[in-house]
Structures are given as structure tokens and as C-alpha cells.
Chain length 199, copies 2
DNA sequence: GCCTCAACTTACCATTTGGTAAGTATCGGG
DNA sequence: CCCGATACTTACCAAATGGTAAGTTGAGGC
């Protein structure tokens, strides 16, 4: 099935997962390459260096999130419902792709990971965060609020929504898989409750 | 001032900060030791290995959090107010010690980091998480709810409360230091609003 | 004075890591 | 049929890392 040049895509996927699970420094190029079934140098062939691979992964993550946000912004619905749709989509995906919220939280926590030294490098996820804040500022509740307040709310929502799926694997280890199964069912309604309460 | 054996304490502090900022794999023993001003082997002298150092750091973190929780549980106040006090103390400390929420989130995300292979190793932070969930289950709102629902709420609250302080440094880089200053002021009331809305 | 023990230090080592150099195989175009 | 580009591979390397071995220093007990 994977005709050609699928290798790059698979490398990106595997790299995303490993970077989410073990972080930048905990992920070795050799491990990623081995998972995909190619040599380490194949990886370097596609993405010049580890830092650039990391940038590519974050780029992909930003695009994924942005697309989810845009999909939720389609029609002329009120901003509250747009946020509802977005976080519903986010949690739905997060349950089956736990690496996504893990990576998101990680990036937000680890400010600078792979800076090329250049000051003008585009911040990863910035293209996603700014529209998200804009939507929050478009709600009735935050119409008159400051940018900082909208940002605080965005972080609160993201943190509240992403921590469970990101911690999913560890929680199964702590409290048992059956509790996690229950949590997967509870999570979406819990997020809706959070949004309803905060907006 | 540091008479003797303060070295161990300082090593633990510096290790906590570096582990929070850069994660387990991103933190080298040599770097921690150098920050304190001793040799790498002094570190190994006190904590047998890197994995044991990590365990010691997590132990300390768990104790810190547990103490904050117990302090908030003093008198016969209602559970709602106990949670209020705890999260107020947490955010107050988190603003000046951003490494604490960073480390907390990191540990929750990275399930297994330094397992001795033994299956019966005590889970880090478990002694803190369980009482916290118990307090949530003691509230009117969650009195009749399942354990899983209380756990979901605990994670939502922790995520919502910890993401901003943990991301503080990166946010200053993204949106400028003045926005972060505003956020530091906003954060506590935002957390109170979150608690009031969810309990 | 001497023994012991904690609290370190300098040397050293095996492994892993990111990265370079150079070679090979395949394929489409001219 | 050759040319170049793409998509890799094997070999190799310098640096960093966690960890071991052995030595040094100073204080307290006998």
C-alpha cells in the first residue's frame, strides 16, 4: 500500500508518538528509524537534523490542531458553540491518539527545545493558539475581557481537557485499566461541563 | 550558612528544577552537580544512581503536595472550601516555583520513567492523588459520583491549575513578559472561578 | 596516636547519541 | 545509453552520558 515517499510520513508519525511519550531528549533518531524499519540516516536524509525533525513534528501538530479548530468554526454559529465543537473533536481524537495531547502539553511546558539560535524562528503552535484565543474573546463571557484573561482561560481549558488523555497510560498503571475505560466515557461530558461552566 | 549535609538538599532542589524544565532524559548528572558546585560523583554518592535521584525528587514532590493538601484540610470545614484552600496554595506557590507544576504535569504524562523493574514499586504521587480524590468525593457535588468521575475532575482541576504556571516561561517568550505578569495576577481568581464552577 | 566513617575528588570506561562521508540501487528524461 | 536526482545503506567519528574504582581529607571516638 505505501507506494513511495510514504516513508517520510511514517517517520513523522512515529517521531510524533515517541516525542510525545518520551520527550525530545528521550527520543533517539535510531529508535524512531528502527520503528519504521529504515536506517537512522534515512531519517536524516528526510529531515536534516534532530532539531528539524522536531520542528516538522510540531508543525504537523500545529496544522492538525488548527484544522480541528477551523472545522469547528465553519458556519456562523456563536463562539461558545464553536469552542464546544472544537473541544469535543479534540477529546474524541485525544482518546484514541493520546500522543496528541501529550505532545501539546509538553510543548507548552518546554518553552525552548530546538531553537536554531535564530531570534525570528516562528513559535510552534502560535498559529493555533492565537485563533483559539480569538474565539474565546468572541464569546459573550469574554467579550469585554483582556487578552490575558482569554489566554488564561485558553490554558485552563486546554490543561483541563488534555491532562487526562495525556496521562491515560500512566493512570491505567495506577488505578487499573477498567477505571481508565470509564474515564474515556466520562471525559467528553466532563469537558462539556467544564466549557458550560466557564463560558 | 549551609553548615553540613546541606549539599544533599541543594542537590535535590537543583535536580527538581532541572528535571522539571528539561525532563528526565534531558537532565544530566554532571549539569546538576555543576550547578550546585560539586562533582558528579558527589551526586552519585548521595543518590546511588540517576533513577534513584529521580525517585527522591518525586518523593519530595509528593510530600510537598501532600503537605499542602493536609494544610488545607485542617479544621472541619466543608470539602469545597478545603479544595479552595489547596488550589489557592498550589497556585500561590506555583507562580514563584514554576518547576513544581511543570514537574507534576510531567510525571503525570510520563507514566514510567525510572522503574527498577520491580512490579511492587510505590507509584510516585499516589499518596497525594488518592487523598485529593477522596476530598473531591467528599463534596456535595460528587458525593454520589463514581471514583472515576472524581478522578476525572481531579485531573481537570490539576490540568487547569498547573498549565499556566508550567508554561509561564514559554508564554513570556510567546506573548511578552507583560502579559505573563497580568496572568500571574489573574491566575488565582481564574482558579477560584474554575472551582466554583465545577463543584 | 590511631581507626573509622562520611564526604567528597580525580581517573577512567563502555555505551549511546547526533552527525558526516561515501557508496549503491533505482528510475525517469534526453 | 548515459545523466542526474531520489532514496536510501554501511562505516565511521567526536562528544556526552551514566557508572565504577580508587584515592584523599577531615572530624569524632577510643
Amino acid at each position: 500500500m505505501p507506494a513511495v515517499a510514504q516513508t517520510r510520513t511514517r517517520l513523522l508519525q512515529v517521531a510524533s508518538i515517541r516525542l510525545a511519550e518520551r520527550g525530545y531528549h528521550g527520543t533517539s533518531l535510531a529508535a524512531v528509524a528502527e520503528d519504521v524499519g529504515v536506517s537512522k540516516q534515512a531519517l536524516l536524509h528526510y529531515f536534516g537534523s534532530k532539531a528539524l525533525l522536531y520542528c516538522a513534528v510540531l508543525d504537523q501538530l500545529g496544522q492538525d490542531l488548527l484544522q480541528m479548530l477551523f472545522s469547528a468554526m465553519q458556519d456562523g454559529q456563536p463562539a461558545e458553540q464553536q469552542l464546544d465543537s472544537f473541544f469535543a473533536a479534540l477529546t474524541a481524537r485525544a482518546v484514541q491518539d493520546p500522543w496528541l495531547p501529550s505532545l501539546l502539553l509538553r510543548v507548552l511546558i518546554e518553552e525552548r527545545a530546538a531553537g536554531s539560535g535564530d531570534a525570528a524562528e516562528p513559535l510552534p503552535l502560535q498559529d493555533f493558539l492565537e485563533p483559539l484565543i480569538a474565539v474565546i474573546q468572541a464569546t459573550e463571557r469574554f467579550k469585554a475581557s483582556s487578552f490575558a484573561q482569554a489566554l488564561a482561560t485558553a490554558l485552563q481549558l486546554l490543561g483541563g481537557a488534555c491532562l487526562f488523555p495525556a496521562a491515560q497510560a500512566g493512570l491505567a498503571h495506577r488505578f487499573g485499566p477498567e477505571v481508565v475505560d470509564q474515564l474515556c466515557d466520562i471525559s467528553p461530558v466532563q469537558i462539556q461541563a467544564l466549557l458550560a461552566a466557564r463560558l
